[in-house]
């Protein structure tokens, strides 16, 4: 299908979002809560674009806006730039010390703000919550509303569901969720909750610590076809096992 970005015709594919199209075509649109591996959420309101034809006119978040034939989009109208600027300034006021936020705010024309600052490390983009949900772990979620909204685990206690997969840390744009990898365990701290420490299971071949036991069991449960009878084997043991198999030797 064909549609218009800033007056130019582009070819878009079924199921694509406007943000994905813009990215693919090299049209710059800032974003924060968007992550290519996660379900779009539309919360940070940086990727705003304006629909001027072919759809319901007005400002939309491009990460949640599906492409449709004949859609006419402006990615940098005055309205869009103003709305983005306010949003960026509000994010900066929330997390004025965060380098990632400062960079995005500066890109949107807000080098500094005189609004009262809150010095929060988490900007509530929800990437971590979505990653955790998509991995079917559901260890973290949002609690409370408005300015009291928090990413947290139930009762702020060390999570009993977290598998220490660290997906949340990896997708966090501001580094708000901390984790430390020790030789024998992983420590993870979901914002203001109690830190969680998970022991690593031992490799059944070499006996060295490998992945957190809970993570192993979670994957085993979710993918029984692959892993039902398997035992944790660390990558280096697995490699030598496979080499042995390829060379026709029995492993053991």
């Amino acid at each position: 299908m064909e549609l218009y970005l800033d007056g130019k015709i582009y070819e878009a594919g079924e199921g694509q979002t406007v943000l994905e199209l813009a990215r693919a075509c090299g049209v710059p649109v800032p974003s924060l809560c968007y992550h290519e591996g996660l379900k779009p959420y539309g919360a940070c309101r940086l990727c705003l674009v304006e629909v001027i034809g072919g759809g319901r006119p007005g400002i939309h978040s491009s990460c949640t806006l599906p492409v449709s034939p004949g859609l006419e989009i402006l990615t940098a109208s005055q309205k869009v730039l103003n709305a983005r600027k306010i949003t960026a300034e509000l994010l900066l006021a929330r997390s004025p010390d965060n380098p990632a936020i400062r960079r995005i705010a500066a890109q949107c024309g807000v080098p500094h703000t005189d609004l009262p600052s809150h010095h929060e490390s988490c900007i509530l983009c929800g990437r971590c919550v979505r990653a955790c949900a998509q991995l079917e772990v559901h260890a973290i979620g949002f609690a409370r509303r408005g300015m009291d909204r928090r990413v947290t685990v139930p009762f702020s206690k060390a999570s009993r569901a977290c598998i220490a997969c660290r997906a949340c840390c990896n997708v966090c744009p501001t580094g708000a969720i901390e984790s430390v990898i020790f030789p024998d365990r992983i420590q993870i701290k979901h914002l203001e909750s109690e830190p969680l420490e998970l022991e690593k299971a031992l490799c059944t071949r070499c006996g060295k610590p490998y992945v957190p036991d809970r993570a192993w069991r979670h994957v085993q449960q979710k993918q029984p076809a692959f892993l039902k009878a398997a035992q944790p084997v660390c990558p280096s043991c697995r490699r030598s096992e496979q080499i042995s198999r390829l060379m026709g030797r029995s492993h053991g």
């Binding site: 539309g42 309101r45 006021a93 929330r94």
Partner: protein
């Protein structure tokens, strides 16, 4: 017993009519919606039952919903066997004995009399029709009660009475004589628009859902009324639940839906109780459930109690709440009519919208379209509250001038006060200044003023209201009700409230006013859902029409209305003070002292500026002056 034939239905209607119209003696009908109960209707009802127990056959006691004139609650209507009807209020239980004595002798004393209602004819009307109200009373004469047609006439817990006034006649007609397509066409051509706030054409919404792919469809009645000062939906639910149910069943027939849900906030326990009872009654007579009225059509309705977040009135948040998730909105598209509850096409309409449907079917689209204006058809229910002589539930044709609502129905300002503005649309709406009270009240005219129709809250403000304080109040509300999902609404409303509080504290600057406008416009465009998109409206409209009040706060450091605490001091005019000691008794901090019969004075250090003294003073001796 399921109703299967017209004669069975007529039999029920006859029974209901006998309840409504006494055949001997008198009937007392006590207004027992939440408004009445809050004013003491329960005690009146109990007393009435007690007295009636001593006069068997001579006096019957009935309950009804909201009669509308909340200012005069507890309201009692007396009906005689001659068909006469007279409304009284406020009626105290202690006066009841005397009243009943006179009423049963056909005497209608002047004390507490509001006026006569047109008599009930000997037989029930053949179709659902609008009963007239007090045709000569200023509160009622401009009103056309369509959605609230039966509220205040019937006992909401007696289906027979609703049937007597024509409930479910429209449904019977639909099922027996019209195809779903015809019903849909009728609703579409009536021009009915959603009464919940946004005013989206109801018929188009139904059509989208009907044509959307999917085997299952849901209907939802949005009864999560949350605007401060608004109680339209509550009154309809408590006064005539069958109008809403009938509308939903007709909607289900037109759109091919099998299940309906009523999402009611849990703070409306009486509405929930009466609706639950109505569903049971309607099911037992075969208006709901399998094989409705023997036609093979099936539809059921459940109640979902909402746990009290303002944002769950937003349709996508409401769906999330019903599904058991946090009540958070999501971006649209997809629209709920295509992908809603559990991913199925879902039609969400407000309580009042549903209550209008049966009358459209009964009287025809063109009859409905004959009411109102070119773009806004029918009537609208408002809850008229605030600084006005008569408060209450009001229903007028769309396009009625604001002045008629405020000054005639509402009776204008209270004695000695001057009207300043009307706030429409609740925290999402704006303030219309008194100079523009000739504005016709319809979707387009209100939008052109930067306000919205909203669900129908109407708060009247007079010269004792500070517009900075009003904007601050509504912003404080939306800020604390924001779900916090999107940045502009969560962070923006908080920072704007900070700026407004500064202004109210006399620490603002003129630049702050421009800053508020910039932020408001940005937040309106950038926010995810209707809450954030409309929350700046009270600021924008007050800044537009009452900029001088803001300027007084930032330039002169004064609050002209004498409201903003940081900018005022309380004092006592020694010439006017009689030394009655009332103020000293009521002062919560003991800031007032003086000898009896001699002028009192206020210690500024102890005074918390609560205004209690001013309220109790009968000599207008309490003076509010500029601080400092």
């Amino acid at each position: 017993m399921k109703v299967r034939s017209k004669s069975e239905l007529d039999e029920l209607r006859k029974k209901g009519w006998e309840c409504l119209r006494p055949s001997g003696g008198i009937s007392l009908v006590v207004g027992m919606a939440s408004c009445g109960l809050a004013a003491g209707a329960e005690a009146v009802y109990r007393k009435a039952v007690e007295i009636a127990g001593r006069r068997p056959g001579d006096c019957r006691i009935l309950k009804t919903g909201c009669l509308g004139f909340c200012q005069r609650e507890p309201l009692v209507e007396v009906r005689t066997s001659a068909g006469e009807r007279m409304v009284y209020g406020p009626v105290a239980s202690s006066e009841l004995e005397g009243y009943i004595e006179e009423w049963s002798r056909g005497i209608f004393p002047d004390k507490g009399k509001i006026g006569p209602l047109p008599p009930l004819p000997p037989n029930p009307p053949p179709t659902a029709s609008l009963l007239s109200w007090l045709p000569d009373h200023p509160f009622y004469k401009h009103q056309v009660r369509l959605a609230s047609r039966n509220c205040g006439h019937i006992d909401p817990e007696d289906l027979a009475q609703a049937l007597a006034l024509g409930s479910y006649q429209g449904l019977a007609r639909c099922l027996s004589a019209h195809s779903p397509e015809e019903v849909l066409r009728e609703v579409k051509s009536s021009g009915l628009r959603g009464r919940g706030g946004a005013g989206y054409p109801t018929g188009s919404k139904w059509e989208t859902a009907r044509n959307a792919p999917g085997a299952n469809r849901y209907l939802i009645c949005n009864a999560d009324e949350g605007d401060p000062g608004a109680y339209m939906d509550r009154s309809l639910l408590e006064g005539d639940p069958h109008a809403i149910l009938e509308g939903m069943i007709i909607g289900a027939y037109a759109t091919g839906s099998r299940h309906g849900l009523i999402y009611v906030r849990m703070e409306y326990p009486l509405a929930i109780e009466r609706m639950r009872h109505a569903i049971e009654e309607a099911s037992s007579l075969g208006f709901l459930g399998e094989d409705i009225l023997g036609t093979g059509f099936a539809f059921d309705v459940d109640i979902v109690e909402g746990a009290g977040a303002f944002v769950s009135g937003e349709e996508t948040a409401l769906i999330a709440a019903i599904e058991g998730r946090m009540a958070e909105p999501r971006p649209r598209p997809p629209y709920p009519a295509i992908e809603g509850l559990y991913g199925c096409p879902t039609i969400i309409n407000n309580v009042e919208t549903w209550a209008n449907i049966p009358m459209i079917i009964e009287n025809g689209a063109s009859w409905f379209a004959g009411l109102g204006t070119a773009g806004s058809k029918g009537t609208k229910v408002f809850s008229l509250v605030g600084a006005v002589a008569h408060t209450g539930l009001v229903e007028v044709p769309m396009g009625t001038p604001l002045r008629a609502i405020v000054e005639e129905i509402g009776g204008g300002a209270r004695p000695g006060r001057k009207l300043k503005a009307v706030q429409t649309g609740g925290p999402s709406g704006g303030c219309i200044p008194a100079e523009r009270f000739d504005l016709p009240v319809d979707y387009e005219s209100l939008a052109a003023q930067g306000s919205i129709m909203g669900s129908g809250g109407m708060v009247v403000l007079d010269d004792e209201s500070c517009m900075v304080d009003i904007a601050r109040y509504f912003l404080d509300f939306t800020r604390s009700e924001s779900c916090g999902k999107c940045t502009p609404c969560r962070e923006g409303l908080d920072r704007m409230l900070h700026i407004l509080e500064n202004i109210a504290d006399g620490k603002g600057t003129e630049q702050d006013l421009d800053r508020l406008i910039d932020m408001s416009l940005g937040i309106k465009d950038a926010s995810l859902c209707g809450l954030g998109k409309s929350a700046p409206n009270p600021i924008l409209t007050t800044l537009n029409d009452f900029r001088h009040e803001y300027l007084a706060h930032v330039l002169d450091r004064s609050c002209p209305a004498g409201v903003c605490k940081a900018l005022i001091t309380y004092g006592i005019d020694s010439g006017a003070c009689s030394g009655c000691e009332a103020c000293a008794k009521f002062c919560p901090t003991g800031a007032i002292s003086g000898e009896k019969d001699l002028p009192h004075r206020i210690e500024v250090e102890k005074c918390v500026k609560c205004g209690a003294c001013r309220e109790v003073c009968r000599f207008e001796a309490i003076r509010v002056g500029a601080a400092g």
